[in-house]
């Protein structure tokens, strides 16, 4: 008994507990933010289209999320008889799980963050982004429906081709910092944010990140007008909800990454770090929504063309120039 008590009160164990607690707080905080984004996006889209959006449930409609959640939890979770069942169930789990896992590398404040010192931080994000393709691909393939398959195919091609230069776009930042860990990258931006020296890196990474979380205008995998709902046409109930929340988790994740990599992360004067981080991230989230409100969806070959013919060369040139500059100023 004493041994157990001693073990439970040992400083090392308590430290682990605290870390786990922090991780859980970050996890749930992020899921709640992602769910709230559904409402925020609808309100903002309404604002920019000269209408109101959901404004009935609660103050300014802010409880719309709760209503949506209750609805989606109690909906029939229908698995069509023609689907490949294990893969069909696995796909939404991958979608949500991988993206939430990727959040662990983000340093939210100097003290908060699950693993900001992870020495392969940026690479870990690429790995996660690569795995996230599986969610869409498996979802589209296991559904055994032509729209889902087309959506899955499109997204696989799109995400693979955009991940190529997403990695290259970040290499400039990594070269200037000399480290893959995101905490080091934030620390390196103490004097000047990486948006200044790495402007083209930022441009290409921002484009690639939109494509990877397949948000408008790169939402060809789930183009409503052409493909019903793309890869999640056959999904219903909470499985669809998981795809939906995963999309918003992706938006938050990518915004947080953009802030961390190019806009100094939590650094900023006067206000506490958490406020700066939240402020910068929410600006990017709003820009994501503005993109959806403003831009039409390009044709599929245009998406691929922009990726391979414009962004890839730009990222490569940016990387080469950064490399030359870093090498010449040791």
């Amino acid at each position: 008994m004493n041994a157990i008590l001693e073990f439970l009160t040992a400083p090392a164990f308590v430290a682990i507990l605290v870390e786990v607690g922090k991780g859980l707080v970050i996890l749930f905080g992020m899921v709640i933010v992602a769910a709230l984004l559904i409402w925020i996006e609808r309100r903002l889209l309404g604002l920019w289209q000269d209408r109101y959006g959901p404004n009935r449930v609660g103050p300014f409609g802010s409880l719309q999320v709760v209503a949506d959640m209750i609805k989606i939890f109690f909906k029939e979770d229908w698995i069509p008889p023609f689907v490949d069942k294990p893969t069909f169930i696995l796909a939404p789990m991958i979608a949500m799980g991988t993206l939430m896992l990727a959040f662990m590398i983000i340093p939210i404040t100097p003290t908060w963050g699950v693993a900001p010192d992870l020495s392969i931080g940026v690479l870990f994000f690429f790995a996660i982004a690569g795995l996230e393709v599986y969610a869409v691909m498996l979802g589209g393939w296991s559904s055994n429906s032509k729209y889902s398959l087309l959506g899955g195919l499109r997204s696989a091609a799109q995400m693979v081709s955009y991940e190529v230069f997403m990695g290259l776009a970040l290499m400039g930042v990594v070269m200037q910092t000399g480290s893959f860990a995101l905490s080091d990258i934030v620390a390196a931006q103490k004097d000047v944010w990486f948006i200044v020296p790495q402007f083209f890196g930022f441009c290409t990474f921002a484009l690639a990140s939109i494509a990877v979380v397949h948000r408008h205008p790169f939402d060809l995998p789930e183009a409503e007008q052409e493909l019903a709902a793309g890869y999640h046409t056959e999904y219903s109930g909470m499985k669809f909800g998981m795809f939906m929340v995963a999309e918003y988790v992706g938006v938050v994740l990518v915004s947080a990454l953009l802030v961390t990599l190019f806009f100094g992360g939590w650094q900023g004067p006067v206000l506490p770090p958490i406020v700066w981080f939240g402020l910068k991230t929410s600006i990017f989230v709003i820009i994501f929504i503005l993109l959806r409100a403003a831009l039409p969806r390009p044709r599929y070959d245009q998406v691929m063309g922009a990726g391979w013919k414009f962004c890839l060369p730009l990222a490569v040139i940016n990387m080469l120039v950064t490399g030359a500059v870093v090498l010449s100023n040791p």
Binding site: G46, L47, D50, R51, L290, A293, A294, L295
Partner: protein, 178 residues
């Protein structure tokens, strides 16, 4: 190169233009909370009016029922002791009514009129069938001074032939001697 730059510019510009909509007035009408304006001649709920003396205007001529393209009006004529006609029952089925206003145009006595009230929702279809007591209002509606029996040649108790407005007394043909 020029195409790429102009494409980037046009995308950024449209984003900026959409962003300016943040300060634009919203087109949504907050209808149930804020009542909307309807013109006075709006064709909504149908009413039966009374003449300035407070008597029913409707003389049960059936012209409205005949004019109605969907046949939602039904009524039955009856006669009072003083000679005035009135509908024994008058029934409009609003689940059929298309609010075309033909009944109002057909009415010779300005009795049936359409009003700007459009909130007719009911939970049961049968509740949309309005009887005479639901249709009859106490006022004269759009025509404040019009009184059919004061204008027409129809004789009723207290108003013999020839005493209506703009009417001359009947000619006694037997006294027309050369």
């Amino acid at each position: 190169m020029k195409a790429i730059l102009s494409g980037i510019w046009s995308n950024l510009r449209s984003m900026g233009m959409v962003f300016t909509h943040s300060w634009r007035k919203r087109d949504t009408l907050m209808y149930p909370e804020v009542p909307i304006y309807v013109p006075p001649r709006y064709r909504g709920r149908i009413v039966l009016t009374r003449d300035p003396d407070g008597e029913e205007r409707c003389v049960a001529c059936n012209l409205c029922a005949a004019a109605c393209p969907v046949g939602c009006i039904s009524l039955q004529k009856a006669e009072r002791e003083d000679g005035r006609w009135y509908p024994e029952f008058f029934r409009i089925n609003f689940s059929r009514c298309i609010f075309c206003g033909y009944c109002e145009e057909a009415c010779p006595t300005n009795a049936i009129q359409l009003t700007p009230d459009y909130e007719l929702g009911e939970y049961r279809r049968q509740d949309l069938v309005y009887e005479k007591e639901h249709l009859q209002i106490d006022g004269p509606g759009k025509y404040h001074d019009y009184n059919f029996y004061r204008m027409s040649g129809m004789a009723i108790a207290g108003k013999p032939k020839g005493s209506a407005a703009n009417e001359t007394p009947p000619v006694d043909v037997k006294s027309l001697l050369p």
